[in-house]
């Protein structure tokens, strides 16, 4: 029975499988890539299967150990969760391939090959456990279990960030770890308030016992701040750029594309689903304001960076702001609920940012540095990488037909509809800033260097270039999938449906 496509047990695969893979990767020092690759493939397959299940049966709950809430822990699938899962699976597969290419390339380096062998040794188990944590986060329906998955993610992410062994990366990673801990503790304090007030830990049960008490509000505030720290929303973003920029290229991809999404996803669920009845408009506006500041500040900082990876990292800071812009706009009832914009931004950003960091990593591998000033002529030697970078940049800017465009469209529509035009201004300013920082680098790629200054390097393997390109293309053409994605989103997220009586698409 359990092997049938209808079986709800598939739901645990995205968590358990990477866990086992992580253990095996740690246990064996050889063939780790094969383990990871198989895991990533199965993960993708299962994500698709779960979506199929969702479309056929609607929301499914899975009670681990057979214990129903409030006492047990439940997993559940709904539209947003599965889309995030799918995003992670797709990006994860690409990252796995890319990491393989990356380490092969580095290990082939006669001088420093051994160090990279060491890095690869630990990369795979860390990455697999991180994947498990992320999948667990997306699927989990228990507020304390979410804390554990957050920790899983936080520790593996911090370890990954320090993996490159450079002093800068270790410093950044240390800070990242501390901030992550602070965030976790704040989150835990929130749980305490929560549990005190509600007496339950399950999200589904909590939803039904939405009490109007100060305790629950304090809990929301604490949970939010904790997650904001992990999401790196301005002004708490300071740890992100150094941590993301100094990590190894595959790690940067993981951190920027996936890890920040995890904590944001929780925020999103809390604000729009769990605590939606008690959320005040002023709080939504506050979050939106922070998002707006993030967009502008991140964009401006990205523009002035001298290093490619730092620039991409600041771009993440800026893009995260978009996720929060949707908060104050969520109350307007237009044709499509605005929160779906958040999913679109997240999906686009995951794919595009992965592609961008991969491209940046390729440039780094190729040139041995990533100083923007000296990137001249990369186009000629790395055409696919540059193309991927360009397409990813375009998606980040929110040009059609990227998924971010759809999101921007929704946000603009509702901001204009509700006469909150300032958000529209910020959104547009953000994309212009994105244009500037994307093309500032792009133009350097296109410079034809005066002399043949590029040293002869080994050509990059297709594993390094093609995942970037494919992810970038996915990001670019995401809007064409919009009807399908919206259909998935509308499935089964009962809480969301209640919140938006205006109707789901």
């Amino acid at each position: 029975m359990i092997f049938l496509a209808d079986s709800p047990s598939w739901m645990i695969t995205p968590v358990i499988l990477p866990l086992i893979a992580g253990l095996l990767c740690f246990l064996f020092s050889r063939r780790t890539f094969v383990i990871a690759l198989i895991t990533a493939l199965i993960n993708l397959f299962v994500a698709c299967l779960l979506i199929y299940q969702l479309l056929v049966f609607g929301t499914i709950r899975y009670y681990i150990g057979g214990w129903r809430p409030p006492i047990g822990i439940s997993l559940r699938t709904d539209g947003p969760a599965l889309l995030m899962l799918l995003m992670t699976a797709v990006t994860g597969l690409a990252i796995t391939l890319y990491a393989r290419g990356y380490f092969s390339y580095r290990i082939a380096d006669p001088v420093r090959g051994s160090r990279h062998q060491h890095q690869q040794r630990y990369f795979w188990p860390l990455w697999m456990l991180l994947l498990a944590g992320l999948n667990g986060l997306f699927l989990s329906g228990d507020i304390f279990n979410l804390y554990v998955t957050l920790e899983l993610i936080g520790i593996s992410a911090a370890s990954l960030a320090a993996l490159s062994g450079k002093p800068a990366s270790q410093r950044a990673s240390f800070r990242y770890l501390l901030i992550s801990l602070l965030g976790s503790l704040t989150y835990l304090l929130g749980i305490v308030f929560f549990y005190r007030t509600c007496g339950v830990l399950d999200l589904g049960v909590l939803q039904n016992t939405a009490i109007n008490e100060p305790g629950i509000r304090a809990a929301l505030a604490l949970l939010t701040v904790g997650l904001l720290l992990k999401t790196a929303l301005v002004p708490l973003h300071f740890w992100l750029p150094p941590a993301h920029a100094n990590a190894l290229a595959p790690v940067s991809v993981i951190l920027s594309a996936l890890v920040v999404k995890g904590s944001f996803y929780l925020l999103f669920r809390f604000w729009f689903e769990l605590f939606a009845p008690i959320v005040t408009t002023s709080a939504l506006n506050f979050m939106g304001t922070l998002g707006a500041i993030a967009i502008l500040w991140g964009g401006i900082q990205a523009i002035r960076q001298q290093r490619l990876k730092l620039m991409v990292a600041y771009s993440t800071v800026s893009q995260l702001g978009y996720l929060f812009i949707a908060f104050p706009l969520s109350r307007t009832l237009t044709g499509v609920p605005v929160w779906s914009a958040v999913i679109f931004i997240a999906l686009t950003h995951a794919c595009a940012k992965s592609a961008m960091f991969m491209a940046a990593g390729n440039v780094y591998l190729h040139l041995g540095h990533d100083r923007i000033r000296n990137l001249d002529g990369v186009r000629a030697s790395l055409p696919i990488t540059v193309f991927a970078y360009g397409i990813a940049g375009v998606s980040l800017m929110g040009l059609p037909p990227s998924g971010a465009f759809i999101a921007k469209w929704m946000l603009l529509t509702s901001s204009i509809d509700s006469s909150q035009w300032w958000w529209a201004l910020v959104i547009m300013a953000g994309s212009l800033l994105a244009m500037v920082y994307v093309f500032r680098v792009m133009s350097h790629f296109f410079v034809i260097p005066k002399r043949e200054s590029l040293k002869e390097t080994t050509p990059l393997s297709p594993l390094l270039e093609w995942p970037a390109l494919i992810l970038a293309l996915i990001a670019l053409f995401l809007s064409l999938l919009a009807p399908w994605l919206l259909h998935i989103l509308s499935q089964g997220s009962t809480g969301l449906a209640q919140l938006f009586p205006g109707g789901l698409p």
């Binding site: 059609p400 037909p401 929704m410 603009l412």
Partner: protein
């Protein structure tokens, strides 16, 4: 998918696929690349002609791809899109031939031609766009695909130009997006249609709609280089000549102008615009642009820059025509200028490119007696320049004539003044060039002459301007015939109840 949709799709793919293949081709394989390019463009032209016949006989060509409720991609073949598509595809063929000759032996050609093909795909997409969202999609893509072309030389100067181009273009795009969204929140999702939206919205949202109109015009005005949004255009002259030709005659500037046409005719509609009373604003901007562009053109010694400012000035004729949207004659004038200006300007840029490539001439002051060295090129240049001035029987006269008549019909006497002054200014900055070239005496050596075979320059450089120049003349001479740009534009205008 019916045959009409297949046709639309293959029109787009006929340049997209060659473009992608060209990207993948090795640099040395120029034979296959040229073949691909030419085949693609010829296939495209024939497909578009088929579509034109279909449109003439009332077939419907439509592809609809819904994205989210209220947002859908719509490709639609109507007479207006056929006009722009035909223009683009024909000029693309010529420009391709020209570019093959122009870039012979220069580096990064596969890159260049790849983007070139994409650029045309996108331009055709703009032509076929059936609603504002689709238009926006291709409009932004156009910026992207032309950017690599602008900075193709890879010099510091071209990078700066590219940067400014991007800032302007994406700034415009952003404004456009906001306006589109705003419009949609008021009138709901709408396709391009002859009537525009329902006039009932005017009563409820009059001022807002006016503002939206202005924003939309600003959005497309950047590409159409309306003053004061024109700054990028002269700087973009650092690009290679085929690119300038393409930018100025076909793709970018025309896309902006086409956008104005769409907004005026198909989004708002004549009646609504009259009710809103925003047309004088458009007319004012167009007038200022026409005059300012001409005066600035006068001040340039760099040939391409002069041509660029001339473009700024000339493209606004289209806007001017659109500003009198209730007058069929003016609309005809504006629409037909879309084609006419394209033909003339591309000729001029081809010729300027020939001068630069063959003799190294970039400045007007270096052009003395150049017609003796390159008579055919300069003959083509002269025809186009006279057309720009509006001398019959070139096509330029026809546009001006209809604009003037339309202006009178609308009771705008000042419009005649604008036309007169602009013609004089045009003459003032074009005729001296002709005089220098034909009657001046060569002084010293040409800056950088390269010896080229039998003709005055490479055959591939020579043929396109001659062809376009002949079209400029013939299209003027047979303007009243059954098949001519003017006739098609009349057919378009029949479709609108103005």
């Amino acid at each position: 998918m019916n045959s009409g949709q297949l046709l639309l799709l293959s029109i787009l793919l006929s340049s997209f696929i060659p473009g992608i293949i060209i990207f993948c081709l090795p640099e040395e394989n120029h034979r296959l690349r040229t073949l691909l390019n030419l085949c693609g463009s010829i296939v495209k032209i024939s497909l578009i002609l088929v579509m034109n016949v279909g449109i003439y006989y009332g077939h419907v060509f439509e592809i609809r791809i819904p994205l989210i409720p209220g947002v859908e991609l719509l490709l639609n073949g109507d007479p207006l899109s056929a006009l722009f598509a035909t223009l683009s595809s024909v000029l693309w063929l010529l420009t391709t031939i020209y570019a093959v000759g122009y870039l012979e032996g220069s580096p990064n050609r596969s890159h260049f031609f790849g983007y070139f093909s994409l650029c045309v795909t996108v331009t055709i997409g703009i032509a076929l766009a059936g609603n504002l969202v689709t238009f926006l999609l291709f409009y932004e893509m156009l910026t992207l695909t032309t950017y690599p072309l602008v900075i193709h030389r890879g010099t510091e100067k071209s990078l700066r130009a590219g940067r400014n181009y991007l800032i302007y273009a994406f700034g415009g795009g952003a404004v456009f997006l906001v306006a589109v969204v705003w419009l949609q929140t008021i009138v709901g999702p709408m396709d391009f249609s002859a009537a525009g939206f329902s006039p009932s919205y005017i009563d409820s949202h009059g001022p807002v709609l006016s503002l939206i109109f202005c924003l939309l015009i600003i959005g497309v005005g950047v590409k159409a280089a309306l003053v004061p949004l024109h700054g990028w255009l002269p700087q973009a002259m650092v690009a290679p000549a085929p690119v300038s030709a393409l930018l100025h005659a076909v793709a970018v500037v025309k896309a902006g102008a086409f956008g104005i046409i769409r907004i005026v005719l198909d989004v708002f509609g004549a009646q609504n615009l009259l009710l809103l009373g925003v047309l004088p604003l458009l007319a004012g901007v167009a007038t200022v642009t026409i005059l300012y562009g001409s005066v600035r053109a006068l001040q340039q010694d760099d040939l391409k820059k002069r041509l660029a400012y001339s473009t700024i000035s000339q493209v606004s004729y289209i806007a001017l025509g659109m500003s009198m949207v209730d007058q069929p004659l003016a609309v005809i004038g504006g629409l037909v200028h879309l084609v006419h200006q394209g033909l003339m300007k591309i000729t001029l840029f081809f010729c300027a490119g020939n001068l630069a490539e063959t003799l190294g001439i970039h400045r007007i002051s270096e052009m003395r007696g150049v017609a003796r060295r390159m008579p055919l090129t300069m003959a083509a240049f002269s025809i186009a320049a006279l057309g720009m001035i509006g001398i019959p029987p070139t096509v330029g006269f026809i546009s001006k004539w209809y604009l003037g008549l339309g202006g009178l019909a609308a009771g705008n006497w000042w419009l005649l003044l604008v036309l007169v002054v602009s013609s004089l200014l045009n003459a003032w900055y074009f005729l001296p060039i002709l005089i220098k070239a034909w009657f001046g005496k060569q002084q010293g050596e040409w800056p950088a002459e390269i010896a080229i075979g039998r003709f005055e320059t490479r055959l591939m450089l020579l043929v396109p301007p001659l062809v376009t120049a002949v079209i400029v003349l013939v299209a003027g001479l047979v303007a009243n015939a059954q098949i001519s740009p003017l006739a098609w534009v009349r057919f378009i205008v029949q479709g609108y109840t103005l």
